[in-house]
Subunit: 171 residues, 2 copies
DNA sequence: CGCCATCATTTTCATATGAAATTATTTCAT
DNA sequence: ATGAAATAATTTCATATGAAAATGATGGCG
């Protein structure tokens, strides 16, 4: 039988704790949030990435594949497949502009709009339930920090390979 | 050509903005962080989930499959496969305690320890590079909020299906 | 003691994923 | 104009994923 301790006390003094490590703190919150996704979306018949995509198209109007991918933080290959599936179900429609036929614009259709309008109040309720653990000020701070962090990471990525000398890691 | 605008201005006034929505703010930071993962880990020959697993075993000593899964926020099926691969590479070792043979303890081996010791300084450097956009106070607040949020989500999950009446959603 | 409900892990299965190669189009330099 | 490089989307390919079923072990409870 192993003599190790499963109770939470470190076995040997170590300069590193995963649970104090920023990328991991983000990861585990993300995992929990993803697990929480279920009935509401299932009832509406859309997946989480589909909801994200539809809500962006609903809000901003037709956009190119690349722009949708960027705005939703979904990979471009995945986005192609996602739009393909949603096109079959008449939630969205692809359009190739005459000028610049490299690009493909995606437009939300009535059925897609219906889904978004059905989901928005559910999603807002869900958010307030989630954030009940925060005061309004904390929530605002938290969102601001997440946004700032994202933009900083984006700027890093934009300049990576040019300025940045060293390999990158994430925890 | 579509008349929609791809510049960022909302097409119609709407009560919902994905980019102000808490679960999405977390998601996109998580995506960026995951994209940033590369050379350092590749050089050490471990994946991101492997690193997380090893660092937990390094820090806390032998643990059961379930405990590792919980502590790393990695799904149990995935964890079984992950440990299987790491066992082949002699990074860890499975042990079945005589008392309670349902459980499997996993112990980190010397090669695994070497990898962790090699990676820790890289990972700490990476974190300070990432968090350069924050003041020390902001960073502390940010981590505290992430931790608080995680524990709140965990508590919700623990009581879901008993107390909680309604379906859940994530954005 | 022996059966049943529960628990921890593993396996199966269907699906989702991202990197890299491919296709189609446009832009740029000459 | 013409070919070469760049860009946008898609497809291919190998791998990763989680839910649910299956397996193996334990802990009551009659």
């Amino acid at each position: 039988m192993p003599e190790g301790n499963a109770d939470g006390s470190p076995q040997s003094p170590s300069p590193f704790h995963l649970e104090g490590f920023l990328p991991y703190l983000v990861h585990r919150v993300g995992s929990r949030l993803a697990e929480g996704f279920d009935e509401g979306f299932a009832r509406a018949g859309v997946s989480l990435p589909e909801w994200r995509t539809l809500s962006v198209l609903f809000e901003y109007g037709p956009m190119t594949m690349g722009d949708i991918a960027r705005r939703t933080s979904i990979n471009a290959s995945t986005m192609t497949r996602l739009i393909g599936q949603m096109e079959k179900r008449k939630l969205v429609k692809r359009e190739r502009p005459l000028a610049n036929q490299r690009t493909v614009f995606v437009r939300i259709l009535d059925e897609g709009r219906d889904k978004v309008e059905y989901l928005i109040p559910l999603v807002l309720d869900y958010e307030s339930e989630l954030s009940a653990c925060f005061s309004p000020a904390e929530l605002q701070t938290f969102k601001a920090l997440l946004t700032k962090f994202f933009h900083s990471l984006t700027a890093d990525a934009d300049t990576a390979g040019r300025d940045a000398p060293s390999g990158r890691l994430a925890g």
